[in-house]
Symmetry: C2
Subunit: 545 residues, 2 copies
């Protein structure tokens, strides 16, 4: 099952097919009510609140709108609108029929949404509560795990479960194993029992094992849940807000050759398997809800579309165009803001940069005259696998005095940490505190090619005579390499130093899952994932690897 229609990622609550978002003062209800016939592509029914990418895209949309359009919300209750079922997890028939790259990309996006929920709880004072009002399995329990609290209905039948290993021969794909032991600190032997038991755990045992926080009787369930949500809302440190801002449609212009937004242009070069993503700097007077927010939304959307719809474009060339001073002026309005909206914009840009960090494409930054790699936008370059700076005039105008530069700002020193908890500069100069101190002194001025080389901010700085050849060779060289080896190599190089739940999910859990997805024991004709629901038992090669 692949989709020939490109997947889009913009949604609106008015037209959700699978969720109901209701805001009531400081508490929002996010109710899952999956339309069985509403699969993103044909070939499966979304029974028992199981989900596919389309369901999760709406989920993501809701979490974003809660942060921007409903700033008064301080607690979000995730529950099901169906009777006796919370969520059965990712749809198995969809997974079984999907090609490998679709499964992997689907898991990545759903993981990012779960991480976003935790981000909202930690940094936005919008605390998520899972109100598990029926059976809750696999990806369903992983949604609950992403919430700060898990309340389970005490009805003597509803369970939480991670049945992927025993029923499907794969791992829970959205952080389940990691969050069980690392976040909820379930003892590893109990985690082992739990993750190999297809029927899961209910009631008191679920509490004792720390799989859920509290049991709530079925009678009065919603009232009790609401009361808990108000308790959490009362503890929230969310900044006060009167009204939100609307996330209006982005309306990019789309052709076979690319995609254009207001501040982001993507130009496809299919013969060379690459796309050039150009970010345009701001114009006009800085305003809080202006350029940076819009740019972030566009970049987010472009990343998601390219990942899903353009798997053959293996290299993303990152460029900028504009005035570095304008970038600094515009970002300053947001960086200096002490209000809820500034906070949301900065965390949203942070999350979007994190998407780049885990994108399985080669990222090459080209820093040329006319570019505006300053402050927030330098993070794009630091997210890249390499940075090339043109040390000379523009290629098409050798008499120009314009030169490329990089300008660091406070934005590069702690505002946008990576998943490993380090800034991109700290990752780049891992353990070299002296150099980081030196760099902090070089903020707020344009660094020349020679300075950027000296400071280790770029991989190379060819002059205008060498530039085109060197870049061409680098890009052609990259396109000739094994895409799989590049994905593994980049995933290892990008995250130096400490690990977090987030990096473990993307680095370790995902890598094991990818391996398992490719194995005949899961995806072969007699594999567990393919045979699930057929009544036939899977046949395994019993060799341990």
């Amino acid at each position: 099952m692949t989709t020939t229609t490109p997947v889009t990622f913009e949604r609106h609550p008015d037209t959700y097919r699978h969720w109901r978002l209701t805001v009531d003062g400081e508490v929002a209800w996010l109710e899952m009510d999956v339309d069985e016939q509403g699969g993103l592509v044909p070939g499966y029914e979304l029974k028992l609140n199981s989900y596919d990418l389309g369901v999760d895209i709406e989920f993501y949309d809701a979490t974003q709108r809660l942060r921007f359009e409903h700033p008064q919300v301080r607690a979000v209750i995730v529950t099901s609108a169906k009777d006796k079922v919370f969520c059965a997890g990712a749809n198995i028939r969809m997974l079984a029929a999907s090609p490998h790259e679709w499964k992997v990309n689907f898991c990545k996006f759903t993981n990012e949404t779960r991480n976003g929920i935790e981000d909202a709880t930690e940094f936005s004072g919008q605390t998520y509560v899972a109100a598990v009002n029926g059976s809750c399995a696999g990806g369903g329990y992983e949604i609950a795990l992403a919430c700060e609290k898990i309340l389970l209905v005490d009805d003597n039948s509803s369970t939480v479960a991670l049945p992927e290993v025993p029923l499907l021969g794969v791992l829970p794909g959205t952080g389940g194993l990691t969050r069980v032991v690392d976040k909820r600190r379930v003892r590893r032997d109990l985690a082992d029992v739990f993750a190999t038991r297809p029927d899961g755990v209910k009631g008191r045992t679920a509490v004792d094992w720390r799989l859920v926080d509290e049991l709530v009787p079925r009678v009065g369930f919603r009232e009790k849940v609401l009361s808990r949500a108000h308790d959490l809302a009362a503890e929230s440190d969310r900044l006060p807000a009167e009204q939100g801002i609307e996330l209006a449609p982005l309306e990019p212009s789309i052709t076979d050759d690319g995609i254009e937004y207001r501040h982001v242009r993507g130009a496809y070069d299919r013969p060379n398997s690459l796309v050039t993503l150009t970010v345009l700097g701001p114009e006009g007077e800085p305003r809080l809800d202006g350029w940076l927010l819009r740019l972030t939304r566009e970049l987010d959307d472009a990343i998601l579309r390219l990942r899903t719809n353009e798997p053959d474009l293996g290299t993303w060339v990152l460029r900028t165009e504009g005035d570095p001073e304008a970038v600094l002026a515009h970002e300053e309005v947001v960086l200096s803001g002490k209000d809820w909206l500034s906070n949301e914009i900065l965390h949203y840009y942070k999350r979007t940069l994190k998407r780049l960090d885990v994108t399985s494409r080669t990222l090459i930054a080209l820093i040329e005259p006319g570019s505006c790699f300053a402050g927030s936008l330098v993070e794009l370059a630091f997210a890249a696998d390499r940075q090339y700076l043109l040390d000379g005039p523009p290629i098409d105008n050798e008499h120009s005095l314009e030169r490329a530069s990089i300008t660091l700002s406070e934005a590069n020193f702690g505002v946008f940490p990576m998943g490993n908890g380090l800034t991109r500069l700290e990752s780049r100069f891992y353990g070299d505190d002296d150099h980081l101190t030196w760099l902090a002194r070089e903020r707020d001025r344009a660094l020349s090619a020679a300075e950027a080389v000296e400071l280790g901010l770029v991989t190379d700085a060819p002059d205008d005579l060498d530039w085109e050849d060197e870049i061409r060779i680098a890009l052609e060289g990259r396109a000739s390499l094994s895409p799989d080896a590049l994905t593994g190599m980049e995933a290892n190089h990008r995250f130096v130093g400490p690990e977090t739940i987030e990096t473990k999910i993307f680095g370790r859990l995902t890598a094991w899952q990818n391996w398992i997805f490719t194995r005949p024991n899961a995806s072969g004709p007699e594999g567990a994932l393919r045979r699930y629901g057929t009544g036939q038992k899977a046949v395994f090669d019993r060799k341990r690897v």
Copy 2:
């Protein structure tokens, strides 16, 4: 290529085919001189000091004997006896022809040996120096990376390289990517250039990029290297020693049904895909070079044989037999020793437990009357995925008053850390410092079934009526699950909390490598690994996953 002859892991310097070990006072030379015709199995030639499992088994043997038989050694020089080539890495034809599980197991063993070199440097005061006297590629450079210092001959031609990605479409398999950025702190964009450049980096650039520590002219190379080794030996904190102890042959008794050493018995149950490993407690008077050292050597050997030769035995049942008091008395002699040999024995037992932690087999500890799970031996139970304790008399003697127990000792509180730097108890009760404090107060006495349950030390404690059924169901249930899903699940559950270079290598790098090994872009008929050396270019599916 599989071997039908079981692989053995005991070697002796007198009969090495691929290495020369020369000890000269405080410095040892370990010279690689691979016999091209000496492959472990037929079908490839070990050209250019490339290695296979057989070469690495000798390497491991040398590192162990240096620690025990040559305690006066404080620095070890790893170099090549061949002209102009240090080591070309793992043999490609061997890898290309190997089944998946062989490749993965081979990488695991070689990784453990590299980690052991770092362990010798850090904890034994035997500091390894790589004297790179010729071209050094792939696994060759990864041997150098495991050393504390890398000295590269300055001859205008010798390079260090990680050519796996560009030439083979796989990752460096023994920690290369991780050690480059995490240990040597090479900037990630330079690491990216380095790992995609098939011809590597030489001379000044290799020093500037931190890939090597120092250039040494060809003239006087060995003298200069020796001088550096003496400098490092002078800084070593190795405890003084007059003479070593011999690691005599273990001489296990081997049948189709199992393997028996003096203190370790492995009994195979092939129909149920399991092996019962029984560790026997000590007898007689405690002596420093007695039971624990011998047990460790036997356990180490048994783990390696089972992993390599018995991939179908997916569950290892861990048992002990003996007197818990005797275990404590014997371990006390080693734990209280302040000499070099006590130190070596404890670190060796630590490394052997770490082998268990990364073994891709389900580990189930059975704690029965007559067992001796005390102190050091409790670590075997804590290394297991589950622990079952029989709460009642022995199954075959219902009138007996003998009961199973667990006895914690100082051995469980810091002596044998896992790869993540935590003790197994700290991993088990991750973040629960109060409970760890409580446990520390419960040391040095036999804990009953009820106490073990109360303290969370066992998964379950069935009584004698339920025992056989519960264990049978647990083992049969395990055997019915997908071996791949179990491997991934266990690898994720076992390492909670912080990460180290070691856990990154086994958890993240290995998982990505395993995935890449299964992909057609590497191992398919047109894949890069299979086509290497044929003159034909690999054909890639360009989709990024």
